[in-house]
């Protein structure tokens, strides 16, 4: 059988990412030396490959630049794969997140005890990203599932990258188990849908799906599987432990990029495939959103470990992301992508600061070590404040804009004479009240940094240039994405062109 190779032109993002992966693999293979067992006194490894991280970052930047121009809608490989401008946009956003992760990881990955895994780290990041690209581009449940697995399994390796650390290994085990479990549930749901519809192509299903008990069951199981990935309540139990144990850089990656990809996939599948069953999944989303936001917020208040804290914060943010889907229109894609983009920069800024402080504070990430940080490290504390304000939805930072737009999307077209309309407004109201709760716990960190007295605050340290670069990108994003509307318009035009 002959394959029409020109079809690959439709999937340039995947091709360039694959090229990146291969180049990194060869470079790693060609220059790696025998693994050096980390010495206890932590002396620098003489064979350090200083060029490696910049190379990967440049390749990733090139990948973004090549793919930043909007693609046209097209289908390839017999309808298995599709792409359109809004898919192109979310792929760019995910790649941007990965780029920030790569830049920011330099300080950590070039440490003597992790340095010999540098090549693997880049390859794993690239392959998870490839999996996510497949996932959002899938037009068939099988390809979707393959993409999802391709994103999860390397992710488990990443979580366990510090395998000599007990925590990291434990959280990797938890991640593998929940990932396998959720995949199982999702497959079960997909099998129901296949049983009812006799096809796995999205377009075919969308054309004839109706709400029968079987399809509803299928949808719910499918949703549960994705709910694990996005870590929505009540599928969130793995989140805190995994986030805490994983290397901080990976936690950042897990909390923004992986979550963003799954949320976009959920959005497009619910709207496209299960569109006719909107009244069923809307109610489901209402419940899940309210639970995610509220419960995660209440748990976050009590956390003292900053990574656990950010885990609960990310669960509640996931609730806001999913809230965008409720509106069921082109605006849902726009506001969701925009929210993910803003969330990527804000959360990565926070994780860059956490990781940087962790490196200079013997690996502790509890909130006490932030007491009085402003006195000794004012710039770092200030950037952290900006990022937290953005997460909490305070203007003029981008977070307020993305939140407001998500709310606009959620109640778009809702009328007060229908139950679902009243529910939409009520859910937005609950979400709004929760923004106040979330502000409370974000302010706790601000309070620690600015107000809490500390006899022995963390002494001043100079951040690595890579961390500075990552923070600069994030801060620029936090300030620009809100005040300047170009980015939103760019995403919106893509979404409208895709409908």
């Amino acid at each position: 059988m002959n394959i029409d190779y020109s079809q690959f032109l439709n999937m340039i993002p995947e091709v360039t990412l694959m090229a990146l992966l291969v180049i990194v693999f060869i470079a790693d293979f060609a220059t790696s030396q025998r693994a050096v067992i980390p010495t206890s006194n932590g002396e620098a490894n003489s064979s350090s490959r200083a060029w490696f991280n910049p190379l990967v970052c440049l390749l990733m930047a090139a990948h973004i630049v090549i793919n930043i121009f909007p693609t046209t809608a097209s289908v390839a490989f017999g309808g298995m794969y599709y792409t359109n401008p809004s898919v192109g946009v979310i792929k760019t956003i995910l790649a941007l997140g990965a780029l920030i992760v790569l830049i920011q990881s330099r300080e950590w990955i070039q440490r003597p005890d992790t340095q010999f895994k540098e090549g693997e780290f880049y390859i794993l990041i690239a392959s998870t990203l490839l999996g996510m690209n497949m996932m959002v581009s899938a037009n068939h449940f099988l390809l979707f599932f393959l993409g999802l697995e391709m994103a999860s399994i390397p992710m488990a390796c990443l979580v366990g990258l510090d395998k000599y650390r007990h925590n990291s290994a434990e959280s990797a085990a938890k991640f593998v188990l929940t990932a396998a479990f959720s995949s199982g549930i999702m497959l079960y749901g997909i099998s129901f849908i296949y049983g009812a519809m006799g096809t796995l192509y999205f377009d075919d299903i969308a054309a004839k799906i109706t709400a029968t008990p079987l399809t509803i069951m299928g949808m719910v199981f499918f949703f549960s599987g994705l709910g694990f990935k996005i870590s929505l309540v009540p599928f969130h139990f793995w989140t805190a432990d995994t986030y805490q144990g994983a290397p901080t850089t990976i936690t950042g990656y897990l909390s923004v990029v992986s979550k963003g990809a799954a949320a976009f996939a959920l959005c497009s599948i619910l709207i496209k495939v299960f569109g006719p069953m909107v009244e069923y999944w809307q109610y489901m989303l209402f419940i899940v959103v309210v639970l995610s936001i509220t419960i995660a917020n209440l748990f976050a208040i009590r956390q003292r470990d900053l990574k656990r804290f950010m885990a609960f914060s990310s669960i509640s943010q996931a609730g806001y992301i999913v809230l965008a889907i409720v509106g069921n229109s082109a605006m849902s894609y726009t506001t969701l992508s925009f929210y993910v983009l803003v969330y990527v920069v804000a959360n990565m800024a926070v994780f860059s600061v956490i990781s940087s402080i962790e490196e200079h504070n013997n690996g502790t990430v509890d909130m006490e070590s932030y007491n009085g940080l402003y006195k000794t490290n004012p710039k770092l504390a200030f950037l952290m404040t900006i990022a937290l304000f953005s997460l909490g939805g305070i203007p003029p930072f981008a977070g307020m804009f993305s939140k407001f737009f998500v709310f606009m999307s959620a109640v778009k077209g809702a009328s007060l004479s229908t139950t679902s309309g009243v529910l939409a407004y009520s859910v937005v109201f609950i979400a709004l009240i929760n923004t106040v709760i979330s502000l409370y716990y974000y302010l706790l960190i601000v309070k620690a940094m600015y107000i809490k007295p500390n006899e022995k605050p963390l002494p001043w340290f100079k951040s690595a240039n890579s961390t500075k670069l990552a923070l600069a990108i994030c801060t620029a994003g936090i300030i620009m994405f809100g005040v300047f509307s170009m980015v939103y318009s760019w995403i919106d035009s893509a979404s409208i062109a895709s409908m």
């Binding site: 307020m400 007060l416 302010l443």
Partner: protein, 500 residues
């Protein structure tokens, strides 16, 4: 580009200047230049506005400018001013200017303090010039959050608690606002978020209006110290540093009244008509309760904070009366209360800075040792209790005359109850003045205190000038304001007549 944008651009430039400033003197220099520029701009705007009105320009808003911002969502950056915004801008500029001098000697971290202070003023100015729902709301929130750090870092007393309480309550209010704004935008069917255009469309169903009116009114009311959502105010004001109390009580609380009028009542007129009685009861409570609570406080700042609850309650009270005279009085009261409460907080802050206590029981005989500050305090007090010749009298007189124009028993009873606050105000003001200024000096150390320095005299002198100026020559302000109130109140009333 409209000239009004300068009200945002100048503070942004000030932020940049502060960021670059190397030492305290440069910080002060940036602040003085920026605050003077703002004050000059506000005065120029007021004069030009009055001239344009005299020249017969009867458009609803002057200096309008609009450019799409988030075009897909119909969000625009649109600005414009009418008489109400003009006087509010003038008030804000005066308070920012005097607040700069009141925090001249603030320590530590002067630079950071002024950074947040200027960010707050960006929010305030932006709020008053905006005519777009989203833009206005964004500026509103910009004005709220710096308070947390300003109180938390530079405050006194239980500052962490006060800062958190204030921030969360005000953000809770703004959460209600978001919902109200979404409701107004979607149910008006408008393709714009411009307030004037939504008002002109006027097609929000009455049932929907009644749902969203409380959200907006309470949302703004929290900031305007609406009973029972006022509890952040005493704690917040008591813990805040001097200039922040001035700016917050003087200007920020006015955002509440302004928003209630401009958004809640203007855009949801039928609901305002039908539901105003609920808020009338609440605001009457605010007025009387605030005054009575002030009587039993012993901390000077708490006394003034409760007095602010009472006076800001008066603003909302007058709005709920919905006659042109009463609402003109409400805006006058915003102006007058802004100036005199800033004066009050400035005096209290300076006394506290010297004496080391704000407790009435441990203060006394200050007239002998701090004559300048004491005289200023007396003036502030007299203005507060509504002595003719000061701004307070003009405002309260207008409010009560306007309120009494409502012929029905309910409104008249509320008016009479609210009037009693005037007497109660006199009680707590005179009691405190007598106790802390005129008795024996209880503490030998007080004899070593120094009176106000030049920067403090400048701040206080400026405020006294404004308070007395407004009290002696109220007509220009009253004309400017009532010219702006008339079209809005006509809109509210006429549409109701049609709907009934």
């Amino acid at each position: 580009m409209s000239i009004l944008t300068l009200f945002v651009v100048i503070p942004v430039l000030m932020l940049v200047g502060l960021w670059l400033a190397k030492n305290d003197n440069q910080v002060r220099g940036v602040m003085v230049v920026g605050a003077s520029a703002l004050l000059g701009l506000a005065i120029w705007l007021t004069i030009t506005f009055i001239q344009m009105r005299h020249a017969g320009n009867t458009e609803l808003m002057l200096f309008t400018y609009s450019t799409p911002w988030f075009a897909p969502l119909n969000i625009a950056y649109s600005v414009g001013v009418d008489g109400i915004s003009v006087v509010m801008l003038l008030l804000s500029a005066v308070i920012v200017f005097t607040g700069t001098f009141a925090s001249w000697q603030l320590e530590p971290m002067k630079k950071e303090y002024f950074l947040w202070f200027v960010l707050l003023s960006i929010g305030v100015f932006g709020f008053f010039i905006s005519t777009d729902l989203f833009t206005m709301f964004m500026f509103y929130e910009v004005a709220l959050i710096p308070m947390y750090l300003l109180i938390g870092v530079w405050g006194t007393g239980p500052k962490e608690y006060a800062a958190m309480k204030l921030t969360l309550m005000l953000m809770g209010g703004s959460a209600l606002l978001i919902l109200g704004i979404l409701g107004i935008y979607y149910f008006s069917g408008a393709t714009t978020m411009n307030i004037n255009e939504i008002a002109a469309l006027h097609n929000i169903p009455v049932a929907v209006q009644k749902v969203f009116f409380p959200f907006i009114f309470i949302g703004f009311g929290v900031l305007g110290a609406l009973f029972p959502f006022h509890t952040w105010s005493p704690d917040g004001h008591a813990s805040a540093p001097t200039a922040v109390s001035m700016l917050h009580a003087g200007v920020l609380m006015k955002l509440g009244g302004y928003g209630c009028f401009r958004i809640a009542m203007y855009l949801l007129p039928e609901a305002a008509q039908q539901l105003s009685w609920i808020f009338l009861v609440l605001t009457t409570c605010s007025v009387v309760y605030g005054a009575l609570a002030a009587c039993v406080q012993t901390d000077l700042k708490y006394i003034n904070a409760y007095s602010s609850v009472s006076h800001c309650g008066m603003v909302l009270f007058a709005l709920c009366m919905m006659t042109q005279t009463a609402i003109t009085g409400a805006v006058l009261q915003m102006l007058s209360h802004g100036l005199m409460t800033a004066l009050f907080f400035a005096c209290i802050g300076m006394i506290y800075h010297r004496a080391g206590t704000r407790d009435v029981r441990y203060l006394g005989g200050l007239m002998k040792v701090l004559p300048f500050l004491s005289v200023s305090y007396v003036i502030a007090g007299l203005a507060n209790l509504g002595l003719p010749g000061f701004s307070g009298f003009v405002a309260e007189m207008t409010i009560f005359v306007g309120s009494f124009q409502n012929a029905d028993t309910f409104h008249r009873v509320c008016t009479i109850i609210a009037c009693t606050s005037i007497v109660v105000t006199a009680v707590y003001i005179l009691r405190v003045v007598g106790k802390i200024l005129f008795q024996k000096v209880p503490n030998k150390k007080f004899f070593e205190l120094h009176d106000a320095t030049w920067d403090e005299r400048l701040a206080i002198g400026g405020l006294i000038f404004c308070v007395a100026g407004l009290g002696l020559f109220p007509l220009w302000a009253s004309n400017v304001i009532s010219g702006a109130v008339a079209p809005i109140i006509n809109h509210i009333m006429s549409t109701t007549a049609a709907a009934l």
